[in-house]
């Protein structure tokens, strides 16, 4: 029973990471209707920025904030320069461009920081809590994710820019007629997604260790989470990510060997798409002919 509760808690911590990345995917999907295959590599690259800052002597939380700002600006720049031309093009063009982006980030990381696995020190003290039920690393991850979600909720619910972004995502034409700069809103969407991804990357790095392939598995689980919650629903993405995290931990402990963990993600994705293609909270996409 103790092991079971332990697994639940570490599942929630892992789920918080998946939920963040899934949220980033959903944000981009809602804004520009494309699936960002580069989300994981973008997060990985942000994590490397934080790592080199910390190694350069910057205190952890300062490095964290700097990285988030850099990621935000980087995300906006990517949308402006690379993604804008394919936004109205075919699905294939969008898939190829985001894949290319992922490959480029992966190789840039390998180029600058080599493919050696790096140790990323956890910002949280190494101390078991609540009678060894949960590590402080896991608790910290959950806490940071909660704070981030709260901030995002406040931003979208109570600020003018947040309202404008929701309008731009929901109905670009009408939003434009109301005077909302839709293009800039999409860029901010990408910036925010990059920031959320960066948070997830920095939080997961102490557990997974840092290397250019760190996020590839995480991205698959985030995809599974986003699809489970419904790729059009931010709340769904968070809940889906958490469910996937807990499932992964329980199934991985009791049912299948760890070598098949990625296959589990594949099976999850296929099952969700087959039996509930709109996810738990998503809305069906209606197409007019």
């Amino acid at each position: 029973m103790h092991q079971f509760s332990q697994q639940i808690f570490s599942g929630i911590a892992a789920g918080a990471i998946y939920a963040s990345l899934a949220l980033a995917l959903v944000m981009i999907y809602r804004a520009t209707e494309l699936v960002n295959f580069a989300q994981g590599e973008m997060a990985m690259f942000s994590t490397y920025i934080a790592w080199s800052l910390v190694n350069g002597g910057v205190p952890f939380w300062a490095a964290f904030v700097i990285t988030l700002v850099v990621s935000f600006l980087g995300g906006m720049a990517i949308e402006r320069v690379l993604v804008r031309p394919v936004e109205s093009a075919s699905v294939l063009a969008a898939v190829i461009v985001t894949l290319a982006l992922g490959l480029i980030f992966n190789s840039l990381a390998g180029w600058f920081y080599t493919y050696t696995v790096q140790d990323f020190r956890s910002p949280f003290p190494d101390r078991p809590l609540l009678g060894a039920l949960i590590t402080s690393q896991d608790l910290g991850v959950i806490g940071v994710t909660l704070v981030m979600l709260l901030l995002l909720f406040t931003f979208f619910r109570f600020t003018k820019t947040g309202l404008a972004m929701r309008a731009a995502a929901q109905n670009p034409e009408s939003a434009r007629l109301c005077g909302i700069p839709v293009g800039r809103m999409l860029a901010i969407g990408w910036g925010l997604a990059a920031t959320i991804g960066a948070t997830a990357g920095i939080m997961v790095a102490p557990v997974l260790f840092l290397d250019p392939y760190m996020m590839s598995g995480v991205l698959l689980y985030a995809f599974a989470g986003a699809l489970l919650g419904g790729i059009t629903s931010p709340v769904g993405a968070v809940i889906g990510g958490l469910i996937v995290g807990v499932t992964e931990n329980l199934v991985g402990t009791y049912l299948i060997p760890t070598q098949l963990k990625l296959t589990l993600a594949l099976v999850l994705i296929i099952l969700v798409l087959m039996f509930r293609p709109n996810g738990l909270f998503g809305t069906a996409i209606v197409r007019r002919v």
């Binding site: 699905v91 063009a93 982006l101 098949l260 994705i269 798409l273």
Partner: protein, 355 residues
């Protein structure tokens, strides 16, 4: 859906005769010249270069398979490396465990990949656009793990070693050159089959489904059947390519079939021209040579080259090398026609047919 991926109009629709020969005859001449070159070439090259060219042809078959699915039918697959692996392992297991001769392993590999492709294509009917890309991406990532896990069959991490087959008695060439010709025959066969399918009823149905699924269904095309057929055909081609690669390399191991391989097929396809047949060969050359060249610069360079090439081609040359060349050819032939309208005698036609 795929507004910017269209097939360049074949030259024959613009020009009927040029320099006394029909466009069809020109094509056959060009193809024969290429085949003649391909037959002579291995005798002027070192064994290693012959091996490299064999791999080019194998990749070309795989890319051709992907072109059928993604280029002509609009279903995006990032997981064809997985089917390549299935073909390779079928051959490897049949050869090493059951002593089946190498040539006899190709039909079972083709059959298995076709059946698996159809089975995978059935749920894929419900996955549109990016979702299918996602599922197949997950498949590509999971492939090496699965191969390692079922180690009683696959030999796990160590993989399976195979003996390179010798040419049949009486043919005085070495093994590598013999395998070159085996691959050449399979490639030509694959191109012929693909061309027949794509230029006929099936191909037109695939393109119609790609360009407007709802209209295609309204016209009476059985979209489910044709989409699964496209999946099966595509994976059959890629699986045969995988089987050949196992024979030619003489070794299979899980690490050869990573996501990078699947992405290679996609890059090769995009660079050659995703909705072309000839583009597959350009793609094969790209996959075989460019990452190796880039590797000399840095470990990170192959991925960077892939990424940059994908971006450049998407923005500057969305129809790939062959697609762009075809439309240039059509345009220049048309200009010659315009200048000498009496020769072709289709000037009236041409005006009405602005393609």
């Amino acid at each position: 859906m795929n507004k910017d991926v269209t097939i360049a109009a074949p030259a024959q629709s613009i020009v009927d005769r040029y320099a006394g020969l029909s466009a069809d005859a020109w094509r056959w001449l060009g193809a024969l010249a290429l085949i003649a070159l391909a037959v002579v070439l291995p005798f002027g090259l070192s064994t290693y270069h012959v091996f490299e060219l064999t791999m080019v042809m194998i990749y070309a078959i795989a890319v051709l398979g992907l072109n059928i699915l993604t280029g002509y039918n609009g279903q995006i697959s990032l997981g064809h490396g997985g089917f390549f692996a299935i073909g390779a392992y079928t051959t490897a297991i049949l050869m090493s465990r059951y002593g089946v001769p190498y040539w006899a392993t190709l039909p079972p590999a083709a059959l298995i990949c076709f059946v698996l492709g159809v089975l995978f294509g059935l749920p894929a009917l419900r996955f549109e656009g990016p979702y299918l890309a996602l599922v197949t991406l997950a498949m590509a990532v999971a492939t090496p793990q699965v191969l390692k896990y079922f180690d009683t069959w696959t030999g796990g991490q160590q993989g399976i070693n195979l003996v390179k087959p010798s040419p049949p008695p009486g043919i005085p060439i070495d093994r590598d050159r013999w395998l070159y010709f085996v691959a050449l025959v399979v490639l030509l066969l694959a191109i012929r089959i693909a061309a027949n399918m794509l230029h006929g009823r099936t191909g037109r149905a695939w393109v119609a489904i790609r360009d407007h699924p709802i209209a295609a269904a309204a016209m009476g095309i059985d979209t489910a059947r044709y989409k699964t057929l496209a999946f099966g055909t595509s994976t059959l081609f890629t699986g045969v390519a995988g089987a050949l690669s196992a024979i030619v390399i003489g070794f299979v191991a899980p690490e050869s079939f990573t996501l990078f391989l699947s992405l290679s097929f996609l890059v090769g396809s995009a660079i050659g021209g995703i909705a072309t047949i000839g583009g597959a060969i350009v793609g094969g050359f790209f996959i075989q040579f460019v990452p190796n060249l880039a590797n000399d610069i840095s470990d990170a360079a192959p991925a960077a080259v892939y990424g940059v090439a994908m971006l450049l081609f998407m923005y500057a040359m969305p129809h790939g090398v062959v697609g762009t060349l075809e439309s240039l050819l059509v345009r220049s032939v048309r200009q010659i026609q315009m200048r000498r309208p009496n020769l072709g005698g289709i000037d009236e036609d041409c005006k009405g047919r602005k393609s």
